[in-house]
């Protein structure tokens, strides 16, 4: 499940400061540096990915996001991005607040646990869902806080977080009429652009 970088790029202002939490090999930041001239910084915990970022010429800091963002100043970035990592955090709600303290705007990408195959697996199969997007078993999954599109929007409402844009994608990473009509059921991936 790889969200098209272009989808996110449109919300990132040229020459702005971007922090990517769980930045992987730095491919997104590299893309934003090359296409939008941003000043990017990544945070990663995985050894191999950190080295990959360095090879890609992307600034990267080794840091465990479960320890929060205390090492970053208020409003020190224009955009804070988190792709496919929020659900692996110990306290996604606290991290979301931290992201909005450090950055003016945030872009969050997560797998929608309300997607129909996941529902079918639990409701009819009686088993926790295992898919290409969420390939782990219940006991070894890093995704300890999965949520649905509705759950995420409820959290935003509760915390007074404004949703600037939302893009929902089906399992083929396409935006379709059905997905847009009933995102909680038909979206495999949700992309949110939020601010305070």
């Amino acid at each position: 499940m790889r969200v098209d970088f272009e989808q996110l790029s449109q919300w990132v202002a040229p020459q702005s400061r971007v922090l990517d939490l769980g930045c992987g090999d730095g491919a997104l930041l590299r893309h934003l540096i090359d296409t939008r001239g941003i000043q990017g910084m990544g945070v990663e915990i995985d050894n191999e990915r950190i080295t990959a970022c360095i090879r890609n010429g992307v600034s990267v800091i080794e840091h465990n996001l479960d320890r929060g963002l205390h090492n970053f100043l208020d409003n020190s970035f224009d955009t804070v991005i988190m792709m496919q990592a929020l659900q692996a955090m110990r306290r996604p709600d606290l991290l979301l607040e931290e992201m909005l303290r450090v950055g003016r705007e945030c872009i969050i990408v997560f797998p929608n646990f309300g997607h129909w195959p996941a529902r079918l697996s639990v409701a009819l199969g009686g088993r926790m869902p295992v898919s290409t997007a969420l390939p782990h078993q219940w006991y070894n999954t890093p995704n300890i806080h999965l949520c649905t599109v509705k759950d995420f929007e409820a959290l935003c409402a509760e915390k007074g977080i404004r949703i600037l844009h939302r893009v929902v994608l089906n399992q083929h990473d396409h935006s379709g009429a059905l997905t847009n009509l009933l995102p909680n059921l038909f979206a495999a991936t949700a992309v949110y652009h939020v601010s305070r």
Partner: protein, 390 residues
């Protein structure tokens, strides 16, 4: 077909091989941070690799407390050990001498040929001894920059150092921002903690209370405070290792003696004999006044002192891109100290990469062959070269 070149096979293929130390004399007086002036001085240094046509591929190595200019390679075909950072400098190594031109000086105040306390004071005709001026990290930066001037190096592709060397790297980035493209700070700190100063003070007291110290003028008395210096080294060495590293290396193994009932003979643990040996070897090869001077420079260093004690304000002055590396079991220059550097750099809007390397060797890790460390270091250096040393 060209005839094969006959190579001495004494050295490993990834070694810079046989190297010759060089000496540069300076006649231009240097005013030191303490206010005193040295009219003349000399610096020993070594270079490895080749300076490219536009002089852009130079790397400066800043040594730590007990280091010197011999960072890589061998002085003689029968040398048992290569230079102190041979792990990281050589063909195909992190600081790849096929791509970079490496300069490593022995700092002013050193005891390996650069002007220092054991040199002759031209005013008295006797060794400086305890009268040698107190030095601060910025004095090394200043004298290193004059060495660079004379070598025709306007800007370094990278300045690299571990521990006290890392402090010099950071000071360089603030004093000469336009001369440092990349700053690589390994197992270092923006200032020492009280605990760290305490260990240095124990070391200094051991030296200064040695009856052979003579207020620093031991050379005039034809002697040296070897016992004190050896104890100082034993303290230092212990703190550079981790508890785990010492357990793995020595455990409670006995070198001599036995705990058998009924036998009243002296027992010596391996760790005791090892430390004593290290202390003795060091006290024969190192100058006690240099040891005092270096530990003082460490203690006095405070990167942000003149920037309202605000490291973010300090780093705003730098233009370099940074790589910061720490080691998980290093308690003398703990990962937290490196993270403080990183946070300040991020706050100042500087580009920085940071890796905390899992390693149980303590502070010494920065000198050792630790695969992930060398991988990160190599990746960063390769990127510098690939980007054309900018």
């Amino acid at each position: 077909m060209e005839p094969p070149i006959l190579m001495p096979d004494a050295f490993p293929a990834d070694s810079v091989g046989l190297v010759t130390p060089q000496c540069m004399a300076f006649d231009e007086p240097v005013t030191l941070a303490c206010g005193r002036t040295l009219d003349r001085y000399q610096l020993m240094y070594e270079t490895y690799g080749t300076l490219n046509a536009d002089r852009s591929n130079a790397v400066l190595i800043c040594h730590a407390l007990s280091g010197n200019h011999h960072a890589a390679g061998y002085h003689n075909a029968d040398d048992r050990k290569p230079g102190w950072w041979d792990t990281c400098i050589g063909p195909g190594k992190p600081i790849d001498t096929n791509r970079f031109f490496v300069v490593c000086p022995n700092n002013l105040g050193g005891c390996h040929g650069s002007t220092g306390p054991a040199s002759i004071n031209p005013e008295t005709g006797k060794p400086w001894g305890g009268d040698f001026p107190t030095l601060r990290v910025r004095d090394w930066v200043e004298t290193q920059s004059r060495l660079a001037d004379n070598l025709g190096i306007q800007r370094f592709a990278a300045i690299v150092g571990g521990s006290l060397g890392g402090m010099q790297v950071m000071r360089w980035a603030l004093e000469h921002p336009e001369r440092v493209a990349h700053a690589i700070v390994i197992a270092s700190a923006m200032k020492l903690t009280a605990q760290n100063i305490a260990f240095n003070e124990i070391a200094r007291r051991a030296i200064m209370t040695d009856p052979q110290f003579f207020d620093g003028h031991y050379l005039e008395h034809g002697t040296s405070p070897k016992t004190g210096l050896a104890i100082a080294r034993m303290v230092g060495h212990t703190t550079y290792l981790s508890n785990d590293a010492m357990r793995d290396k020595f455990g409670r193994s006995l070198r001599t003696g036995t705990f058998e009932r009924g036998i009243d003979a002296a027992v010596e643990f391996e760790v005791e004999s090892y430390l004593r040996y290290q202390g003795d070897v060091f006290s024969e090869a190192f100058d006690a006044n240099t040891y005092l001077l270096m530990t003082k420079a460490l203690d006095y260093f405070d990167l942000a002192r003149e920037y309202n004690d605000n490291p973010i304000e300090a780093f705003k002055k730098s233009l370099a891109r940074f790589l910061v590396i720490s080691f998980s079991s290093d308690w003398r220059f703990a990962p937290e100290r490196s993270q403080e550097i990183v946070n300040a750099l991020v706050g100042a809007g500087r580009e920085v990469c940071y890796a905390d390397i899992e390693a149980n060797q303590g502070h010494d890790a920065f000198l050792l062959h630790i695969p992930r460390y060398l991988e990160v270091f190599s990746a960063y250096m390769q990127r510098i070269a690939d980007e054309g040393f900018r």
